[in-house]
Point group: C2
Chain length 213, copies 2
């Protein structure tokens, strides 16, 4: 059965985001402090390294009931029986991914323009990532959509939406107000001096703004 999907605080991370630290420690601290989804996004490690890290994340997150989503690498996700996969426009077609992962895994798709949304195979997907919401340095290929456009895309989406790109404690509320079900962050948590405190604060901001909506 598909895991329940709570997009509220969606942490994206890989070794590149945690210099000098173990991504599993950061993911575990976040998952025990309110992060509702963890995505492994490793564009540099060998397949062996990615599988090993994904396996360690699964072992850490399973008892916490926080799903692990693997970015792009369906093979890595299948190898560790991860809870799902997230693909972008440079990755495999969502419909093909669904074929490979079967009906019981989560599938997210990133879109950043109207034409990408129009072309998306939404039936194959469980949620959309829309962004970049704000300027970001963590993902250098992400074009900023702007909040007005973000709201417009989110309104049309027939699936849950997580905002992504440049989201911080300072602007997370705007993303939820614009219609998102959650916020995806990298550096707002990985780069925080206190991962647990930053996650808790982000979680409160999202919950408070959702209550308003």
């Amino acid at each position: 059965m598909k895991p329940l999907l709570d997009l509220s605080v969606y942490l994206v991370l890989g070794p590149q985001d945690c210099p000098g630290q173990d991504p599993v420690d950061i993911a575990t601290a976040a998952a025990t402090s309110g992060a509702s989804v963890i995505q492994l996004r490793d564009k540099r490690g060998t397949t062996r390294e990615q599988v090993q890290l994904a396996q360690r994340l699964m072992t850490a997150l399973e008892p916490l009931n926080v799903p692990l989503i693997v970015n792009d690498r369906i093979d890595v996700a299948l190898a560790v029986n991860a809870d799902g996969v997230h693909v972008g426009q440079e990755d495999m077609d969502a419909s093909k991914v669904r074929e490979l992962i079967g009906p019981d895994k989560l599938l997210g798709l990133s879109v950043s323009t109207q034409s990408e949304l129009d072309a998306a195979d939404l039936e194959a997907c469980d949620y959309l990532g829309i962004g970049a919401c704000f300027p970001t340095i963590s993902k250098d290929d992400a074009a900023q959509v702007g909040m007005q456009n973000f709201r417009h895309l989110t309104e049309q989406a027939t699936l849950p939406v997580v905002g992504i790109g440049g989201i911080s404690l300072a602007n997370a509320a705007q993303v939820i107000s614009a219609g998102a079900d959650g916020v995806a962050v990298i550096s707002a948590i990985c780069g925080a001096p206190d991962v647990s405190a930053a996650t808790k604060e982000l979680s409160s901001i999202v919950a408070a703004r959702k209550d308003l909506g």
Copy 2:
């Protein structure tokens, strides 16, 4: 059912090996001139690009009855229903790969030392790639095993062996004489002024030396 495996002339290629040319053209010319296996090895393309190239190779090679093996990326292989996968020591464990690809696909594993051979899950595999036989510039992480050691490893292998690494028209016969069932090449074919002629010549050298054995 598993495709028949003839390792005689095993061409490894990706966009990085064919500057200014279409890898599908080179693979097709080679496959019609005696290449018995084509391996797609693309360490740089996005997943989308790799799937597209793999699909084009499948379309070209299927009518020629030449199997397509995908290096490392099990997801790409599954997406296009390729004939098999080849993994190295930095890739996924062979036993896990076998779980993901099922019993009907080919699986090759690269080994270059006695300890790698001892640790290999040979039951999961259909063949071994052993090398680097000679100095090579195409694959910068390949340690040279030397021909004496190559022969020693090949003698112990209970699976068909393809020699790999720095193999050319000038030294291919040595590799077969040392016990290999075939030769894997990159630049001996991709870098040849006439791909068909080079493939035919390599094919004759291998066949002639096999007849002697």
